[in-house]
Symmetry: C2
């Protein structure tokens, strides 16, 4: 590390706007104006101020700014959990757009936290608005944030609260139809719709698609991870009346189910169909490749940031509800397509 000029400043080592003003021989108001361009400053003065800023290595304290300007220039995003590719992509889109709009991003993962509601309230005191994913916090908590702009993502609409969702229904119907077209009849749905409104919607659509062909699927609760998928699928495959299709609530369950099916000596895509949801990277690389539904996750995050910004800047005052299209991605795990 190269030797550094120790920045001057008060005894605490922090440089304040007063130090800059003193060095430049101007008032603090002028420093503020020169740095933010909030009012005209003579060129020569500005140059002197900026030189002083540079010399002292002045970094404005965000707390001071935010207190005076009554804004945080920051957005929050609340996740249930950050594991899995789904949320990371949403976050990426969110961060990208938020920062383009001049806002920092604070993340909060509620998973495994003793008091998620308190954490959300604390977050609320640090941001100008926040995005909440799924059922991470109770409706009451969101309501208690009254006044703070909130956008919910992947959660059913909640009164006047803005929302951004993906349209699972259409693709789910298409998936149901597609499976029926393969001649599959004993269809098992794996997942816990009560845990997630999105999953409930998927299952509903699939039931509709299958129902058009007179097929009534069964439903088995399953946590949304791979190990659970393997376990639940193994149980189903051992039972009497083995299903000929396992329709899973997400890709992780489906990938786990593939493991179970192979363990049971079944050829996925021949002896049994398995489908997922999300189109994670592993879905493409699994053999057979997984039939699934692609969601525009990055766009979801990005759009949420935009919708939130409109509220924060009060560009819009009426609720906005967005629905993003999804794509059914047919691969080989649901049966061969010659």
């Amino acid at each position: 590390m190269k030797a550094l000029p120790t920045p001057q400043g008060n005894e605490l080592g922090t440089v304040t706007i007063y130090d800059v003003a003193a060095l430049a021989g101007v008032g603090i108001a002028t420093v503020s104006r020169a740095m933010n361009g909030s009012a005209p400053v003579a060129d020569a003065t500005r140059a002197r101020v900026l030189a002083a800023v540079e010399e002292l290595g002045f970094r404005p304290s965000h707390a001071g700014t935010s207190l005076a300007a009554r804004t945080h220039a920051a957005n929050g995003i609340v996740f249930p959990d950050l594991s899995g590719p789904y949320y990371a992509e949403v976050l990426l889109g969110y961060e990208e757009t938020a920062s383009r709009l001049g806002r920092s991003v604070l993340v909060l993962a509620t998973h495994g936290r003793p008091d998620p509601d308190a954490a959300v309230r604390d977050l609320a005191g640090r941001v100008d608005g926040m995005v909440v994913l799924g059922r991470t916090v109770a409706d009451e908590v969101i309501a208690s944030l009254a006044g703070l702009p909130v956008v919910v993502v992947a959660r059913p609409e909640l009164g006047d609260v803005d929302s951004v969702r993906t349209d699972g229904l259409t693709s789910a119907r298409a998936l149901g139809e597609h499976l029926a077209g393969h001649g599959l009849r004993h269809i098992a749905l794996l997942g816990s719709p009560e845990e997630s409104p999105d999953v409930a919607e998927r299952f509903l659509g699939i039931r509709e698609g299958l129902g058009a062909h007179g097929i009534e699927p069964t439903e088995t609760p399953c946590l949304f991870d791979e190990a659970s998928g393997t376990r639940v699928a193994a149980t189903l495959l051992e039972g009497r009346r083995r299903p000929d299709a396992l329709v899973c609530a997400n890709d992780e369950i489906a990938l786990g189910a593939i493991v179970a099916a192979e363990g049971a000596g079944l050829r996925v895509g021949h002896d049994i169909a398995i489908t997922g949801w999300d189109d994670v990277m592993a879905a493409r690389h699994a053999r057979p490749a997984l039939t699934t539904v692609r969601q525009p996750m990055r766009a979801l995050g990005s759009l949420a940031a935009e919708v939130l910004d409109e509220r924060i800047t009060a560009t819009r005052t009426t609720p906005r509800h967005e629905l993003l299209a999804t794509d059914l991605v047919v691969r080989d795990s649901c049966g061969l397509h010659p």
Copy 2:
């Protein structure tokens, strides 16, 4: 949405500590003490204050707190990019530990940003310390943050700056040895070591492992994504002197390379060996499953948060450099292991 009691407060709709104090019939100092437990408060008084807080829905303004207390209770984390499973896991571990330590997390993705250095400086004004991943920011910028605790992750040590890394060298040597043991001789390294010190370390270790058997691998630059892996691998496989092993800098390149190999009619694990690095979910599910190296990503993030906290709280004042072990995960893509 249920009807809500509109919180009282000033004309801006925000409730301040003054409103609470007025309602409870105490001074603002007492409200502060009652809420933070920073000094004894009579039980009856505390109860009255807390009731007022509840009634008004008071949420302390973080800016006020942080200005007065001279602390942000927040940490930053700077990523090159958030895509891919690698960073999401690190972030998860970081967020978990940081929040256990009572700190919020601000994320910054430098990828595709016009002025990353300015963004990092801005971040520096909002946090008590930050973690920087890889080569996202120039050494000078880190240095210019003098005074602000910084921990670098997956980046070579930088003077007195704390660091947390994974030990790629040991596993890389083991991988080299393993490949040599398979009888492979024409080995191609795919990746751009100059882009990432971690990758440079991997390649060095692999060269050492192979060198022990008198093998000198070739090296081909490649971006760290799947499409690049496919493209570069395809070119190599078409050339004269086709390599019999493609050792890739990460799993995504390797998964792309598998696609190329299969496209060229080669059986991966028989006609050609392919290995990755990271052990992403898709590595496990690819067929053949990918030989790779597992990195403790979650632990990496968590440890970084701890190391940073020690600096922020000044529990420790001497540099700390941590090295986490990695595991070679041998699967079938590097050759069959009967």
